[in-house]
């Protein structure tokens, strides 16, 4: 006998719908250059303004990028897909319909990680409606102004199956998708600027049940933080509704990241009836072998595969491997450093794990907002520095000081070490300093001799102070013990 529903835990079921602006040079259906913050309505033509008599023409590069995305997400590519017209009136939609794909999308049935991809299709972006406020009043009424620069930008819409079970999972998966798209170079994938936009379909159901609850659609969460908070808030809202004996209604919602409130986005004065029908101005897309292999050849190693390889072949920790793989430029830097270390030849070299640590733990905080490619530190220089540490030619702490300098001014680590006298203290110099420290710390020597091993720290500290960190702590300890044993 099933438990009363109100007492059972609820399981969230989440699917995502992602719109990706493609990084083509021109719009989806006309030759206007894409807009990057130009003055309003300076990137328009009769086609993207929807003038009478114009016809759309399909951007080949957009199709190429869409095929790459379909293949990267492991989808089946439709042998023949159609464009449809999706009819509705809105001021940001110049033709009164959006050209999109409907019952036969370009690609379907794929997966990225553990999340299945329902479909991938091509469409055109809407224009931007700017609410002008009081200053823009038109004929006394509060008005808005339409800027068609963005209208017609190529979009790929990616729809997942409802395979996500928490806001954190959703956000984590979206990061993987973003890293993947970014790696492919098909989009700027900038959430703040709107080149990656995410809607979430959220429902809840009693844990263990197979049927889906009624979903609500959360619109346009423009950062990972908002996505996570929005979904969490919506899950909480639905639980409250259901536990209060109510039912969730299917609606489109807006999450306000400032107040945390969720509000209904549209007044439902009429049910949507998009009256889809095949776009008669365009012919079908039937990707040829040549188109498919060109798209396939253009695919780089994708982040998920790269993380796996770094973990498997270079024995990096999973977290480190993912960090390097998801931030592709960092991964490239790391792999260049590994290659430099392996090609270096003479002397001890730093292994991949050590290099990974140098990149992720030491270099990343020193980069700030810049990309590694823009840093004065080259992968070769970092590999050399790490190699000198491994060869005990420089201490860990002195090497960090060297990296501080390199991160600002660049330069060769070996030269910097010499110039600043940061190399390891030579054996005879170090021996003299150790002898001096033993002499000056009679009390500590006494304690060590009476069995308090920890007292050695005071002498090591004195040596390190004297050498300004140019000595290896383990080596210093070894020398102290040796001297005290021999003497005693």
């Amino acid at each position: 006998m099933p438990e009363p529903v109100a007492d059972r835990p609820y399981e969230p079921v989440i699917g995502l719908e992602i719109h990706v602006q493609l990084a083509t040079r021109t719009k989806m259906f006309c030759g206007c250059a894409l807009s990057f913050g130009e003055e309003p309505n300076t990137r328009t033509c009769p086609v993207c303004l929807g003038h009478p008599g114009v016809l759309p023409t399909v951007n080949a590069q957009a199709v190429h990028f869409a095929l790459m995305i379909g293949l990267a997400l492991g989808c089946e590519i439709a042998p023949r897909s159609l464009f449809h017209r999706k009819n509705y009136f809105y001021p940001d939609l110049p033709k009164g319909y959006q050209i999109s794909q409907y019952d036969v999308p370009l690609a379907r049935n794929g997966a990225l990680g553990d999340v299945r991809i329902h479909r991938v299709h091509l469409e055109e972006d809407a224009a931007k409606l700017v609410h002008a406020g009081a200053s823009g009043r038109i004929h006394g009424a509060a008005g808005s102004v339409v800027d068609f620069n963005r209208g017609g930008t190529p979009l790929v819409e990616i729809v997942t199956e409802p395979d996500l079970r928490s806001a954190a999972e959703a956000s984590e998966w979206l990061r993987l998708l973003r890293a993947t798209l970014r790696r492919m170079g098909v989009s700027d994938v900038n959430m703040e600027e709107g080149s990656l936009r995410c809607d979430a379909n959220v429902s809840i159901r009693p844990a263990g049940e197979a049927t889906l609850g009624t979903k609500a659609e959360l619109k346009n969460m423009n950062s990972f933080r908002f996505l996570q908070r929005g979904i969490d808030a919506e899950i909480a809202r639905q639980e409250q509704v259901v536990r209060g004996g109510g039912t969730v209604t299917q609606e489109t919602l807006h999450f306000d990241p400032v107040t945390g409130d969720i509000s209904s986005l549209r007044s439902k004065e009429e049910a949507h009836d998009y009256r889809y029908f095949p776009e008669p101005d365009l012919v079908p897309l039937a990707p040829t072998e040549a188109m498919l292999s060109r798209a396939d050849d253009a695919l780089p190693e994708l982040p998920a595969a790269r993380a796996e390889r770094l973990e498997r072949d270079l024995e990096l920790a999973p977290e480190t491997a993912r960090l390097l793989a998801f931030r592709g430029e960092l991964g490239d830097f790391f792999e260049a450093a590994v290659a430099a270390a392996n090609g270096g030849g003479d002397g001890a070299v730093a292994g991949p794990r050590a290099l990974a640590s140098w990149v992720t733990v030491e270099l990343v905080p020193r980069l700030g907002d810049t990309e590694p490619t823009e840093s004065p530190v080259t992968p070769e220089a970092l590999a050399k520095l790490a190699g000198m540490v491994s060869a005990k030619a420089v201490s860990q702490s002195a090497a960090k000081q060297v990296l501080d300098v390199m991160a600002i001014d660049g330069g060769d680590p070996e030269a910097l070490i010499v110039e600043r006298g940061l190399g390891m203290a030579a054996a005879d110099e170090l021996g003299a300093i150790v002898d001096g420290a033993i002499e000056q710390n009679a009390a500590a020597v006494e304690q060590i001799r009476s069995g308090n091993e920890k007292a050695i720290g005071a002498i090591v500290g004195a040596v390190m102070r004297e050498t300004k960190g140019r000595a290896d702590g383990g080596e210093v300890q070894r020398m102290i013990r040796q001297r005290l044993t021999v003497d005693g």
């Binding site: 009769p46 303004l49 929807g50 003038h51 009478p52 008599g53 114009v54 016809l55 759309p56 023409t57 399909v58 017209r85 009819n87 009136f89 001021p91 110049p94 033709k95 009164g96 319909y97 004929h139 006394g140 009424a141 339409v146 049910a271 009836d273 009256r275 889809y276 029908f277 008669p280 101005d281 365009l282 012919v283």
Partner: protein
């Protein structure tokens, strides 16, 4: 002397005028001025706008500077382009239609814009927001539509030739009712870029001319793939001028579905005379079944309005054209469109929106698309046996102004014989076959895709044998 010379120049077919110009006996500019003056004094309501002066055309341009009347459905940069609608009153496009551009480049400068049924929706030209057009054969009668202005202008000698658009008969039917030649090309032969859309999968631009040779000559310079129109194709070869005088060995099929019931007796009489003429010229005419064409009109009145309902959504008062409303967005849309569109356009938007709306798509749109498939198959099967299909162009001669305006269905029926070819995307020509009660009757010849040269040749032979000399403006 001067008057006789100008009458003579105006009586030339376009092809003859091109020859005169090439020989240095006439100039394109002279001819333009003569027509410009004639068209400026017309009282049929055929023109909505006239060019001030001809562009400079070199005498050796293939079309010599012979001016062209252009249906107002074509966008021409900076020139009022209304598609016969109030909603586009004052609209001056920022670009020019490919067909107009190509013809101008070939030496056919625009004489003016001709009147038409609003958004090409109509068969009588009575749906123009700028008034009806009178048929030059009888001013109490309609010129047909939707290219009524172009047809009347050519029939009345106000222009040597014209272009129009044909979605379900809009070139052929007015050509038939005005006693001239009208060619609807293979879908895709002529670019649609810049043609204000009615039903995109059916719309095609075609010539309206005094004779078959002129149609071939104009058509030759209209065709070709346009990078701005994804549904346009390269024409297989240059379009030859027709030369045939006999029809020996040419097989014609007359479908009972389009040559019997519903056709006026006077029209049938002319049709049967032409049938005999064909046989006299050595051609064979047999009955050939096109069983699904009887359903063509029904399918057409789903598909065309459905596409039109979307094509006309852009007229919303935001970016161009007229605007109405009381300050909120819904009223901007609803009132702009209520005031801007005429009755027939509203009817088609309603019909098309209904046919596409949730729950009705399969029953209407889906079925109509399948009927379309069957009609195309009927034609394909027919062309296995015959070279050309022969029908009357329209079931009736020109009807009286106002006679059918209150009964949409009776109006729609005047395209009964023309619509199946549009649905199949195949070319068809209408040529005058004779008179019935003093009014012209058009005969339609249709062939497989890209068979225009064959159609034009047969039409040429038939035209000479029929000897139609209708020139109402000379009477």
């Amino acid at each position: 002397m001067a008057a006789r010379a100008s009458d003579e120049a105006l009586s030339l077919t376009a092809a003859a005028a091109v020859e005169r110009i090439a020989a240095g006996e006439l100039s394109g500019a002279e001819l333009f001025d003569l027509y410009r003056e004639r068209a400026g004094n017309e009282d049929l309501g055929a023109f909505l706008w006239l060019s001030e002066a001809a562009a400079d055309v070199p005498a050796d341009a293939p079309l010599g500077g012979v001016p062209l009347a252009v249906k107002d459905v074509f966008c021409v940069e900076g020139v009022p382009s209304t598609a016969g609608s109030r909603i586009l009153h004052g609209y001056r496009p920022p670009y020019t239609a490919t067909a107009v551009e190509r013809l101008a480049a070939a030496g056919a400068p625009m004489l003016g814009k001709t009147n038409m049924d609003e958004f090409a929706m109509g068969s009588s030209n009575e749906n123009s927001a700028y008034g009806p057009v009178a048929n030059p054969w009888d001013r109490e009668r309609v010129p047909g539509g939707s290219s009524g202005g172009s047809a009347a202008a050519v029939a009345a000698g106000l222009a040597p030739w014209a272009i129009g658009t044909d979605t379900g008969g809009s070139v052929r039917q007015p050509a038939s009712l005005c006693g001239i030649v009208g060619l609807k090309p293979t879908y895709g032969a002529v670019s649609r870029y810049g043609m204000i859309a009615f039903a995109s999968s059916l719309d095609q631009c075609g010539p309206l001319t005094r004779d078959v040779t002129d149609a071939a000559l104009l058509f030759r310079h209209m065709v070709g793939c346009d990078p701005c129109d994804s549904t346009s194709l390269d024409y297989p070869a240059e379009v030859p001028l027709p030369t045939a005088e006999r029809l020996d060995g040419v097989r014609f099929g007359a479908p009972p579905e389009l040559t019997g019931e519903g056709i006026e007796p006077g029209v049938l009489e002319v049709f049967n005379r032409v049938r005999t003429t064909i046989e006299e010229l050595g051609g064979e005419v047999e009955d050939i079944a096109l069983p699904h064409t009887a359903h063509g009109l029904a399918a057409y009145y789903v598909l065309a309005p459905a596409e039109a309902s979307a094509n006309l959504s852009r007229y919303d008062g935001v970016r161009y054209g007229m605007r109405a409303g009381d300050g909120d967005l819904l009223s901007l849309y609803e009132e702009t469109r209520a005031e801007g569109f005429g009755d027939e356009v509203k009817r088609r938007i309603m019909l098309g929106t209904y046919a596409l709306s949730s729950g009705y798509y399969e029953a209407y749109y889906g079925r109509a698309q399948r009927v379309r498939t069957k009609i195309a198959e009927d034609f394909r099967a027919a062309f296995e046996r015959v070279d050309l299909v022969l029908t009357p162009t329209s079931p009736s001669v020109a009807f009286r102004l106002g006679e059918r305006t209150s009964d949409p269905l009776s109006m729609y029926l005047s395209d009964y014989c023309a619509v199946p070819m549009s649905l199949a995307g195949i070319p068809a020509i209408s040529i005058p076959g004779g008179l019935s009660d003093g009014l012209p009757v058009g005969i339609q010849l249709a062939g497989p895709a890209f068979s225009e040269p064959r159609i034009l040749d047969a039409a040429h032979a038939l035209e000479r044998a029929v000897g139609f000399t209708g020139e109402p403006w000379r009477a």
